[in-house]
Symmetry: none
Subunit: 200 residues, 4 copies
DNA sequence: TATGAATGAGGCTTCATTCAT
DNA sequence: TATGAATGAAGCCTCATTCAT
């Protein structure tokens, strides 16, 4: 139906606009009317599609984060060398950023690292990512691919923390994203975490 | 003066109260009156000592962060095996958390990871920490203690990201801080980053 | 549209209410909530139509003052004896007061004579009135209707000052407005300024 | 006593400072601490000498206004041509401005023309000036020096309004005070009001 | 679906004034 | 007389949300 198509469009339009404004101004600093303006609709319409301003961000987060969770699980299920599995996770995250830096900025800045506000709400889902990575590590340890004296969740946090810090560095230009070779970055990430900084 | 010594330092009292309330409710959710109440002083006194609510947080951050910067610089200046230098940095941060978890929570959650609000203001100082760590890495590479194919700032971000993520995990009970042996955590951190996850 | 016509114009309602409250309490002493209460609307609606409390006053002033400016220009353009032109200006101002004493009170007390606050903002427009009157005087001098040894702007200030002081006297009951014959007042004003206090 | 001398000095120092700050920023916009800063004393001291911020302004007003009232009464008592009496009043006011423009600015802007705030409080004293001038007019009418068809208070308001408007013009640079010949201004003022704008 | 007028709670900040020393 | 720490009332403005059309 045409009407259905329109509906979907406006909702999407609002979500996409929200990403841009949230990325530009931060969640707290953006008014609902800013989203509407950016989307080119009246701000009442935002409330037609979403219960609240919060829900818009929730939607953005859940939409994207579920992809990450799937990717992690899929990676693990697919098997292969454990080092490569970590590489696949890093790759997925880095590519997410490369593909849509604004969305990833919003998710990291406003949810993942905003543990006092939105992070709190989504702690369970965020934790599932950590645990998914931890499972890869645990499996690797069992298979003898990883050393056994580091708790899997500990290793997972280290790994995820490193990845996210990197993205954060790109986002806020601590590391010049413009000069970054993202594929090389993925490699170095895995190299650092798996091989260590010290020469072998 | 005796009176000066005897008199409670209201300014300090306010700062300490602010740490507790910020840690408990988050910066945005705490009203200035909450700080005053927690400190047991009148509303207006907060504004006698600080220009704004923001400045209270600024003060807390700068006070603590400058210690970190000094520690990093001192560590580097003191020399010694480069691996131990990273260990010293990790140790300083972990001990900061162990000693005053509420303050570190505030600094990480409200400044370091709040890049859209306060982090923005203090980006330069935050970056200085990254660069201080990067310098340690660079020195280690020159001395042959660290592999040379990883950009120092890249390694620094990886390292710092791992440390902060760990603290974050403790703060939000993703990793049960209660069961954590902090000294062991420091070791594992350095082991992970320097030796890598894969067995040698 | 019928609905548009039937619907009370809330914006107008707020402006009219503001006149009453400003006149009664003075601008500084009236809270935005006083305006809203007087208008019978919600607090926030004032901010829906006006950027700030200041803007409400600005609007009132500009709305009215532009009429005065038009009247002065129109009077001059229309020609006729120069004495009558001054009379027309005086007449317009006195009638403005007679017709809406509260509005004129607000404009004089809060803008025209509040040179340190609002007057400052509107100095240019206020000056235009002085200059408009000065032009009438200058024309009169050229035509030989007025003596030539008094600078037009000087004469204008004298004239306008006299008129405003009169209104001020009525407003604050220095001169009992109740007993005043406004039309006679206009005449006397012109007589005084044009013929002088001394008998001819 | 030395202490007495000091006392007097500080009080005066505060009053003089207040004039400067009130003139510069306006009464509402100046904080008690601004006065103290300008005077070079602690702001608590202001409250040692004055009950409130208002009282500082009151003091300044009363101090000066009583001189004006005396001058008017004295002028009338001294006798002489009635026209010269008006000239003496105008002269006193203009000279007051010439001698201490900041003080006169404060008195006019913050009291005389602030009828909604301080003017209200001092209305009685202000009115006494109008009445003093009115008396001169009334006497002049009785003596046949002034025409009898203009109510004395009416004429007084006209005259005072003209004078104050002139000062106001100088204060706010509507009339360039720098280029003004004050003595000539006095003459023209009296000429305008007594002889009228029309040629005789 | 779509609009934007209307609502009103919430919070930061200012600053006159008091008071202990 | 002199200081400035301490108090707390007061008010502007923002903005998420509701609702009539």
């Amino acid at each position: 139906m045409a009407s259905k198509a329109t509906t979907v469009d406006k909702r999407r339009q609002i979500l996409d606009a929200a990403v841009r404004v949230f990325a530009r101004q931060g969640f707290h600093a953006t008014r609902v009317s800013d989203i509407a303006d950016e989307a080119g609709v009246a701000y009442g319409l935002v409330y037609h599609y979403f219960r609240s301003k919060d829900e818009v961000l929730n939607e953005l987060f859940v939409e994207r984060w579920s992809l990450l969770l799937s990717a992690i699980e899929e990676t693990d299920r697919a098997g292969g060398p454990h080092r490569d599995r970590l590489a696949a996770v890093a790759s997925f995250i880095v590519d997410s950023y490369r593909h849509d830096p604004e969305l990833m900025k919003v998710i990291i800045v406003e949810v993942t690292r905003a543990a006092n506000s939105f992070g709190r709400t989504h702690l369970a889902e965020i934790r599932r990512a950590y645990e998914g990575i931890a499972k890869i590590v645990a499996d690797g340890q069992e298979a003898g691919a990883f050393r056994g004296d580091i708790a899997p969740l500990f290793a997972s946090m280290t790994f995820y923390g490193a990845v996210e810090q990197l993205l954060s560095g790109w986002i806020f230009d601590v590391i010049p994203a413009s000069e970054t070779n993202f594929d090389q970055a993925k490699d170095l990430l895995v190299t650092t975490i798996c091989d260590g900084l010290e020469p072998r």
